[in-house]
């Protein structure tokens, strides 16, 4: 054992030092590692195993069925419906909330005295408990007695049963989803906007871009790129996981028109006890969110090194 002079960038460390560091490192990391295995890795492995069996809650024996669950899921009309509905929901929520929040952020960013007020107002929905708000929305949207329909009829339109009409349920839930997300995304966009240096705008103005739309297209939009990407992916993941409003307001109805993937997983696993099938559905759910989370994580990483 001898003190070794290594490259100039690192100070020489005697061997005991390394041991101490390794031990400390392992000691610090072990609780997290154990929990990681217990709450993430092991369950995922269990899911994978379960999905290849026919296990039901309370069953005494468990048999392997190969990929039968997967083919059943892909042909199951309820599951195809819930996947379709989930994608439809996401297709409405993501563009709407991203674009609306971008617009609001741009408008609010320029304000000085009223900025605080608008920040509060737009962010309030994010802090509310969605279920409490959902019951209020239910009443607001009541076909006969709710104020929204009262306004519609006074303007000469027909009454609309927002939550009972199969074709309207999902867009209505999407509107509520957007309602809760706009403030959150707005704050992210505001941070992104603040990071754009003012001189860039002045430079653009010198270059002849004096019209606000020009400035937006030349300076704001490109520099907001990473933020926009991040907001979009985050919104996508959040929207894909929709559950609360369905569980509380519509329970998948009417006629399955608001059945979404995560709610289908919940029903299969915790109400009908087809645990192996629910495990299969969870893996499908995970596959989709993984694609987007991986994208997000790589962008996260890139932005840190930006």
């Amino acid at each position: 054992m001898s003190a070794i002079a290594t490259a100039p960038a690192r100070a020489a460390r005697p061997v005991p030092r390394r041991w101490v560091e390794s031990l400390a490192g392992i000691g610090f990391a072990t609780p997290a590692f154990v929990l990681l295995v217990l709450t993430n890795i092991a369950p995922l492995i269990a899911l994978a195993i379960l999905s290849f069996t026919d296990y039901e809650m309370g069953a005494v024996d468990i048999n392997s069925v190969g990929a039968a669950n997967f083919s059943k899921a892909l042909h199951d009309p309820v599951i195809r419906r819930s996947l379709g509905n989930t994608f439809l929901y996401v297709a409405i929520v993501v563009p709407a909330s991203v674009l609306l929040s971008l617009l609001v952020a741009i408008l609010v960013h320029r304000r000085t005295r009223s900025r605080g007020f608008y920040e509060v107002v737009y962010f309030l929905p994010v802090t509310t408990t969605l279920i409490a708000m959902a019951t209020m929305w239910q009443f607001l949207l009541h076909p006969q007695l709710g104020p929204i329909n009262a306004v519609l009829t006074s303007l000469g339109f027909n009454r609309v049963a927002f939550l009972s009409e199969p074709s309207l349920v999902l867009p209505t839930l999407a509107a509520i989803g957007v309602w809760q997300l706009v403030g959150f995304n707005m704050v992210l966009f505001l941070a992104g906007l603040s990071a754009i240096p003012r001189d860039l705008y002045e430079a653009a103005e010198v270059d002849g871009a004096s019209h606000p739309i020009d400035r937006f297209l030349r300076v704001t939009w490109p520099l907001l790129g990473p933020t926009t990407m991040f907001v979009t992916v985050t919104t996508f993941i959040t929207a894909f996981k929709i559950f609360d409003t369905v569980a509380v307001m519509t329970r998948g109805g009417p006629m399955g028109s608001s059945m979404t993937l995560l709610y289908a997983v919940y029903l299969e696993g915790f109400q009908y006890f087809h645990l192996s099938y629910a495990a299969t559905l969870t893996l499908i759910f995970l596959a989709f969110t993984l694609v987007f989370s991986v994208t997000q994580t790589f962008f996260l990483d890139r932005r840190v090194h930006y």
Partner: protein, 284 residues
């Protein structure tokens, strides 16, 4: 470029300002609609709730009765207390577990470090609903369902916290740590006495993020809790709404107000912290 008269420029600016505020105010109305509605309905007597003409202030102030009815029907304050217990418990363990691990990943060398980091990054991509099913089965076998422990356990490790704090710790100056080591300060103390205080903004930001996320979580409590006494605010609201919908909308609105109030008030009081929390976890 055409020259614009000063007056035309001012008019254009004024119009732009008006337009901005008009758009923002319309959005603001949409944002506040259910909240205002909730506040207004909670003070109305049943007869006035379904009235054709909408009034902001009721003819008869019924707020006291509504709130009393709400509190009598369900233990709303108890739900809030459960929220505090569960979120607080989760946060404390999250910090205790994540901070040392993040420090180790940022500043120490040890065998298996790259593997651990890869697992952490992988964990970031797994939504909490994915392991729910096997965890439920495991908890059922262990007989710990319907306890505070089972409500908190799946969340004890926050890979997000590990990731976030690691970023922060990485930028902490090595010299200070070396100096402390030379002074004979143990690694454990270095973490908690020296590095952590400087990471306070990140810790505060993460705490906001964690509390908001778990306060409003419905999925896991719905599966694990069968005793109303353990219900967190969203679950409690679900029980409460089921019992009141169709009869007493004033009480329902009052109940919703009680459930929603804590986070809203916390936000109004600590607005900067909240927003910093969201932003920092987003940008970093």
């Amino acid at each position: 470029m055409k020259a614009i008269t000063p007056r035309a420029a001012t008019v254009r600016r004024l119009l732009a300002l008006l337009l901005s505020h008009a758009v923002l105010m319309t959005g603001a109305v949409f944002m506040l609609l259910p909240l205002v509605f909730m506040a207004v309905t909670s003070i109305k007597p049943p007869a006035e709730v379904f009235e054709a003409t909408f009034r902001l202030w009721p003819r008869t102030f019924y707020g006291l009765e509504n709130f009393q009815a709400a509190l009598k029907t369900a233990p709303l304050f108890h739900f809030l207390l459960n929220g505090v217990i569960v979120c607080g418990g989760i946060l404390i363990v999250q910090l205790i577990v994540a901070i040392p691990c993040a420090y180790a990943l940022a500043k120490l060398e040890f065998p298996g470090k790259p593997v651990l980091f890869a697992l952490v990054v992988l964990g970031l991509c797994i939504p909490v609903q994915a392991p729910a099913l096997p965890l439920y089965i495991a908890f059922a076998q262990l007989g710990v369902l319907n306890t505070y422990f089972s409500m908190m356990a799946p969340f004890f490790l926050s890979v997000f916290a590990v990731f976030l704090f690691r970023q922060f710790f990485k930028s902490y100056p090595d010299e200070i740590i070396h100096a402390a080591r030379l002074d004979g300060v143990g690694e454990f103390e270095i973490v908690w006495r020296i590095v952590v205080p400087s990471a306070w903004p990140a810790i505060a930001a993460f705490s906001v993020f964690s509390i908001v996320a778990h306060w409003n979580d419905l999925y896991w409590p719905l599966i694990v809790v069968s005793d109303a006494k353990l219900a967190t605010p969203p679950l409690g609201m679900m029980f409460f709404a089921d019992s009141e919908v169709g009869s007493n909308y004033g009480a329902l609105a009052a109940g919703a107000a009680i459930i929603t109030a804590p986070l809203v008030l916390a936000f109004l009081l600590a607005r900067r912290r909240f927003i910093a929390g969201i932003t920092m976890t987003g940008i970093k």
